[in-house]
Subunit: 347 residues, 4 copies
């Protein structure tokens, strides 16, 4: 795992030196007055990235997958019905989690490489006259295929049917690199992590929670302790944490926010888009096929001056088959990697 070569994978992104320095700290006392003074503004500033004024941001020392579980287990009960579209590896895995947490899952099956079909969500919601659906789940940016979905359109579908379900969005690979509007889109649970748009190492789940979602915790009966929103919000309220936090990552998150705000969120999004477009143009010029119908790639989240490289899911003429252990692109000096290739090529 050579650390010299930038990674170009559909996963965690390269870490700017400034953030590596911020995370490279000695142990600090997480019960000191200084930590209190550090934590409260951090949580407040995170709301600017989610674009929420009424919601709350909760962090867990965990991965994005842990964020998913927190969102579900705090707000839903076994047997609750949820509506979700499957169009890539991550929506697929989210569905699997719902089922294992004993929810009843209605799946909108889509071609992998497409985005969330707002019209089909609308149909399903319109059909649910009894309001059985407690939650509508959408993946904002499918990491595996590089497809962005239109969350606003799903919200409109919900509003059009006056459906009271809560809206859950997986924004793990979109938040802080694409525009995300929690309040405007009426998102109740927005699940992200430290290792994508925040440009940090893996290890923090970062979840935006609406007031409606917080209220839902009271009646939700899925068991949870480590991921309990109540423990966390009560401790956070006075600048504390219910257990030992991942202080280095939180320090890194502070510096990440500083970088994002210094550049300006709009400029960050424009940079990612510009770089991604360049890559897509190059792929077209090379005569290769893009995987996605509407492809908004996963750019390298990075400082503005990072090399203009990007990763975009593409379908190579030499695409390895499903059974290849590691895809052939590995031999190309690690410049490309396609871990989800088998799943994609097989569909």
């Amino acid at each position: 795992m050579n650390s010299q070569n930038p990674v170009f994978i559909p996963g965690p992104t390269n870490i700017p030196d400034r953030l590596r320095a911020a995370m490279n700290i000695q142990t600090a006392d997480h019960r000191s007055p200084e930590f209190v003074n550090f934590l409260l503004p951090l949580l407040e500033d995170l709301k600017r990235v989610f674009k929420t004024e009424t919601g709350t941001v909760i962090t867990f020392p965990s991965s994005g997958t842990g964020g998913w579980e927190a969102a579900i287990s705090n707000t839903l009960s076994p047997g609750d019905k949820v509506l979700v579209a499957r169009f890539g590896m991550f929506s697929h895995r989210w569905i699997d989690m719902c089922q294992r947490l004993n929810l009843e899952v209605e799946i909108i099956e889509c071609d992998w490489g497409s985005g969330a079909p707002a019209d089909r969500y609308a149909q399903a919601l319109a059909a649910d006259t009894g309001h059985a659906f407690k939650a509508v789940l959408v993946t904002h940016n499918e990491t595996a295929t590089g497809v962005k979905s239109d969350i606003g359109a799903v919200r409109k579908a919900m509003d059009a049917t006056s459906h009271p379900a809560m809206l859950y969005v997986d924004c793990v690979s979109s938040l802080a690199s694409m525009d995300f509007r929690m309040d405007e889109w009426g998102v109740d649970l927005a699940v992200s992590g430290s290792q994508k748009g925040f440009m940090l190492a893996t290890g923090l789940a970062i979840v935006g929670v609406s007031q409606k979602a917080l209220a839902a915790c009271d009646s939700a009966t899925c068991p949870r302790v480590f991921f309990d929103f109540g423990d966390m919000t009560r401790a956070n309220a006075s600048g504390g944490y219910p257990y030992t936090p991942a202080v280095p990552l939180m320090m890194g998150l502070r510096e990440s926010l500083n970088m994002l705000f210094e550049e300006g969120l709009g400029n960050v999004f424009a940079r990612h888009f510009r770089i991604a477009e360049g890559v897509r143009e190059a792929i077209r010029a090379w005569g290769l096929n893009l995987c996605a119908i509407l492809l908004i790639s996963i750019p390298i989240r990075s400082a503005p001056s990072m090399c203009p490289k990007d990763l975009t899911a593409m379908r190579s003429p030499t695409m390895p088959s499903r059974n290849t252990g590691f895809p052939s692109v590995w031999v190309l000096d690690n410049w490309l990697a396609g871990h989800f290739v088998s799943a994609i090529s097989d569909r």
Copy 2:
């Protein structure tokens, strides 16, 4: 949170430079062949620290609290009965978790500052002729009071009554700094973390799991996905991870094992004991009271050459009362900190 001053808190320990360097890495591809070759020996070598040959070691990007939840939710079912002694803040919190995960908890109440009473465990087990207890829980080293418990004695109590319950041990603050013998003591679930004896930042739960405990996963009905042993062991078997791992911490863990093995586990334990004894002698010489009846302190897990400082829970004549926000020791230049002071002084 000044990072210059060593911490002397009953929590995470100081991080040797060597481990900070090991964790200060660029993003690496956790699905690369190199990661496979890295992960398998890491997991194997961890078994040497648990002193288990038959068990398996499982890691989660989480804290020790997450490790507790993993241990319980993978092996027990709602309504299962467990036996546990309460003698400090951490055993207290473990009990709380069991209750919230819908277990039926029989509590052996002890003075805080004492260790696990093997005789009272024996009585309770002898009384349980119907073998209702599915699990016996013991905290090896109570971080808050600095008291070590005799796990072997609890095992003997179980064996004396031929009780089939599994033995769960919280070794968060003992593993890798005190002798721990998973196989010899017949421990089924041994829960630890990265931030104590392994001298790393917080963010990894490290759990030793016996074959009996792995088998119990099949029938355990507590829901779990993020913390699922099955997902993890299946992925680990081929050098993978079911989601994005906390690679920097795992790299740090590799180097931590290197340090522990270079010094020799026996030498590490002896060093911690020697330093702790020095502190206890000093406390006695200063005329202060030690909190614990049998006090085995939480030494600073560190390289052999660290300053001979230590933290031992002590009861100061100026012990702040329960309602003090932050204890007065804070003003003493951060040399001492007593976060659990209020809980202790109040009992």
Copy 3:
């Protein structure tokens, strides 16, 4: 060379984490516009530490010894006469350098452990009616013995005799940890380095140069190229460097200045004095002898929250003899080190 244990040596000091982070950088382009914008304010701000408004600060990728050579070779010519007091290892070595650079050196021999004798300087200057002395050299703080000299008193001696010689001060171990007043004391050449009061690694000579000293460069015939003031000031004027600079150290110097200014120079000096006094009190309480008559020790230059430890030259009852290779204090877990012990104990 364990890097975990703070050093307590009469040499370079411990480096705060904040400065280690500042120096831990990737290669940057020292001919970029950014470097220009970085260098000019850095050099300007350094003047605040020297307390000079009229002088210039020059840096070399070198050690303090290189700073000495730069000061001499740029402003003096072979055969020039200089006046200097010898009262410790560093004044001794400075004299040696002058002699090897072909100056004629008049030495005021003092007891090691004493400071610069202003009265004897006054006598020598008064006797020099022909103004043969081109330079008067004084060591501000003798690192080896921990003695501070009164530079203002030497200046008064020069003024009393209206002597036109330039005043050269070795402030390697005093600048930025003790009050230094270049303009007020009329210092022409003030030689320091990165590894003491600036809390950085060794590798930068930092020299304050008065206008009078700059003018002296024109007629000085000692050969120099690497250490040439003219090359450096001409390049610096436009934000450049005559050869490749030690960029990491200069980045560290920027952050060091930030730290010094944030705390306030007066507070920094007071902190060093307070800590040093504490050590001296402890040494007296232990019944050991201080080496110096008037002992102002070499405090650990560090962030305010560093452990209240210090190093003060002291004469131990078990002082090793001259011929001991490494002094016995080494066995004491590196807490004390006495490299100059042999020189001191032998006098």
Copy 4:
């Protein structure tokens, strides 16, 4: 000076993470027994890179320019005659230094972009029947133009005339990235630095010195103290240093040697050549002109897995004129930089 973007400049090279970690250390005691045990093998192993068995390697906390001054001032006397070819910025600056150190310099003027003309060296040496030349100076790799010279051919020219002059080679930008054979080529003074082939930060001059050159120190009358070979070799002999060394850089140098030896010097050279050839091919394919007649570029000294990027001096159709402050290539996202462009384009 963004540290995220790799530099592609004719100067210091990118630093592998492994070496940044090695340099990122706390202050260590340079007079400890550990330092002795560290320094002696380091100096010995450096000889393998110079390919000398009979010579000695000397380091100074300085830059390559300091190494030049050390080589000259330790072995020559004012008025000594030296022979040198000028074909780029660095040979130009070396000549300037010789003149300022009062040597008599005979210059072989060449087109910039050409290499050292062995035949013209031969002519000049043959004409010097009185053996007035004390030193023959050759720049191995002209950093500014990217031209490698044939040192072996110059040695042959010297041998053909049985000329007793010493051979001085500037190998600052060649050593450890191109084959260099100090003993085979009969090099007496080989001057290098830490910031090129050794992949470290600037701050160490590294000089290979033959026995003949060491003997010449006795009679050389150029003054020197900081750069004195005698002080350094005497201190080094017992594992010491005559003043405070740049310990972080020396730690980095140890790890750099480890990397070079692990890969194998021959493999390192082949890698640099392969990458450079790729760049040259690309430049040709783009229809641009290479500057050099025989162009062996300055590759990025780096770990094998570094991005296959390189810098080669090239003459762009939009070459900025002499008076441009910073060349236009700066606007191209820092991908190219041509600081010496004005000097080259003007000739």
